[in-house]
């Protein structure tokens, strides 16, 4: 379980996060939403250790990790898929997936995580993660890396951005599969109603504070004024049927 206590973060005389208190329970699928610039990515970076809060505490599985480095947090079981994935001249998809998995990955497992995000392993494993890849391909590889890492808590920052509509349902299947396999918590930062629809809980961030946090059934109507509970079921079914990305 992750707990943020009174997190404050300001830069250039601007309060970006103001006394954020948030609990993310084990095995929960939590979607964080909120306007552009409200502080969602900053919050994710603070959880990962990329940004250091000015005050407040971060507790992960009962342990105070506020002072831990990025590497230490990664080893404790926190993972983070960037909003803007990083490109590397020279490192291949295979290299990155191996690093993610801690080098103990079998080739067929690497293929599986790529297939889950709709990439043909044969075509992509040995490709360099450089500027020749399209934005959507890069996003998929980023997700595959986190699927290979199998963290107790994984944060995805706008994973659907740049992913074509055709593949959207498969993307959701990836999250649900990860959720079922790893039994960890998944946090997805998203603006997409379809992603909100698969959440157990929704957190609304406005102006650097937690505006709302509760079960989807409660929060969603307050955001959109209506609730569509059937979506999640539909996707679960699709997933169970073993749908592939290029169906």
């Amino acid at each position: 379980m992750l707990e943020l206590q009174d997190i404050c973060f300001s830069r250039d005389n601007k309060d970006i996060l103001k006394n954020v208190n948030l609990k993310i329970d084990n095995e929960k699928m939590v979607v964080i939403t909120g306007p552009n610039g409200s502080g969602k990515s900053t919050l994710a970076k603070i959880i990962m250790g990329i940004e250091t809060p000015d005050s407040g505490k971060i507790i992960f599985d009962g342990k105070d990790i506020t002072e831990l480095s990025i590497t230490e947090r990664a080893k404790e079981g926190i993972g983070f898929a960037f909003q803007q994935p990083v490109r590397f001249k020279g490192l291949t998809v295979k290299d990155l997936i191996e690093i993610s998995a801690g080098n103990s990955l079998k080739l067929c497992d690497a293929c599986d995580v790529l297939a889950d995000v709709g990439l043909c392993a044969q075509e992509y494993l040995n490709r360099e993660v450089n500027s020749e890849l399209s934005g959507g391909e890069l996003k998929r590889i980023e997700i595959a890396m986190l699927a290979a890492k199998k963290s107790k808590l994984t944060i995805f920052d706008e994973p659907e951005a740049g992913i074509d509509l055709w593949s959207f349902n498969n993307l959701i299947s990836v999250f649900e599969k990860m959720h079922d396999d790893i039994k960890g918590s998944i946090v997805i930062i998203s603006h997409q109603e379809r992603i909100l629809n698969i959440a157990d809980e929704i957190v609304l961030i406005t102006n650097g504070t937690v505006g709302k946090h509760g079960p989807r059934e409660e929060v969603l109507p307050q955001i959109f004024g209506k609730i569509k509970p059937c979506h999640k079921l539909e996707n679960k079914e699709r997933c169970n049927k073993g749908g592939t990305v290029n169906e």
């Binding site: 480095s69 990025i70 590497t71 990664a74 080893k75 990083v86 001249k89 020279g90 290299d95 990155l96």
Partner: protein
């Protein structure tokens, strides 16, 4: 052959046992082993140190290994190797030089390699340079590669300086005829107070000739590298030069590219980028559980692969 010699050969020519096909191994200024085949002849030069490698037309699927190793200090080894590749031959040539210097005297090897490719000939040329040894003596390598590509000939050159070379000046000159193509990929790593200078001078004289030069280098510690290129497009042709460098600590890289279009149908591109490892690359790998040091190593290894 002792372990030092074996390791040098493995480093520069990937040779663990006796190589397949034609070979000539030179150690401390003398030829020590040679093999020729029905299609590939190796002849010692009479007028100066070095060998002629003569490859018959239409020779396919054969290779030539000509590694040079130096295991003594105080040696200045100059050698001229000429390659004559017959029409439509298609072969792999592996050269390279390894120095093990445990003395305080300089060990130096200057290899001058001239390639003559006939019409339609095709080669892959791999050249690795490597230095080691606990001595304070310098390890110097100054390779010169002169490339003459005939009509529709093509050459792929892979040039790697792995590590341990105190100073190097690497010059490559190419003259290209109609329809010929040249692809060069260079990887250099310097550390400590090492210096490396690379010069590429390419004349695109033949219609529809093309050259692609991709240089990637890493300059660590107090090392200095210089990259100079000059590609001249004298007809309808294509040239692309790419120079990427990572600098670390006090490493310095000077990039001096020149492209010269002397014909309205010449299309020439140059790209150069120098900088330290991007912070976001380190951060990404750290979020995957690597330490900063491990992340750095992964990035450098990948970059130079």
């Amino acid at each position: 052959m002792n372990n030092i010699e074996k390791n040098l050969l493995k480093q520069v020519a990937d040779i663990e046992k006796t190589p397949m096909g034609a070979y000539n191994i030179r150690e401390n200024g003398k030829g020590v082993a040679r093999n020729t085949t029905a299609n590939i002849d190796i002849v010692t030069k009479k007028d100066k140190p070095g060998i002629d490698i003569i490859i018959k037309p239409n020779t396919k699927n054969e290779s030539v290994h000509i590694p040079v190793i130096l295991t003594e200090g105080g040696l200045n080894d100059l050698v001229y190797n000429d390659f004559y590749i017959g029409e439509n031959a298609d072969v792999v040539i592996v050269a390279g030089c390894g120095i093990h210097n445990s003395t305080c005297d300089t060990a130096q090897h200057d290899g001058i390699h001239t390639f003559h490719l006939e019409k339609g000939a095709k080669i892959k040329y791999i050249e690795k340079h490597y230095g080691e040894g606990e001595g304070t003596g310098e390890r110097i390598l100054n390779p010169q590669t002169i490339i003459n590509l005939g009509e529709n000939a093509s050459m792929e050159m892979e040039s790697v300086q792995i590590k341990g070379v105190t100073s190097t000046i690497r010059e490559t000159y190419a003259n290209m005829q109609k329809g010929s193509s040249l692809v060069i990929s260079e990887r250099i790593m310097t550390t400590g107070k090492q210096t490396a200078k690379t010069i590429f001078d390419v004349n695109l004289d033949g219609e529809d000739s093309s050259v692609h030069v991709a240089s990637r280098s890493v300059a660590e510690d107090d090392s200095v590298q210089e990259f100079i290129s000059n590609v001249k497009g004298n007809t309808k042709c294509f040239g692309h030069v790419e120079c990427d460098a990572i600098i670390m600590e006090n490493g310095r890289v000077i990039s001096d590219p020149k492209i010269e279009a002397n014909n309205v149908d010449a299309s020439l591109i140059h790209e150069a980028a120098i900088g330290k490892i991007a912070g976001e690359q380190l951060i990404k790998l750290m979020t995957l559980g690597l330490t900063e040091k491990e992340a750095e190593e992964q990035i450098i290894n990948g970059f130079l692969k």
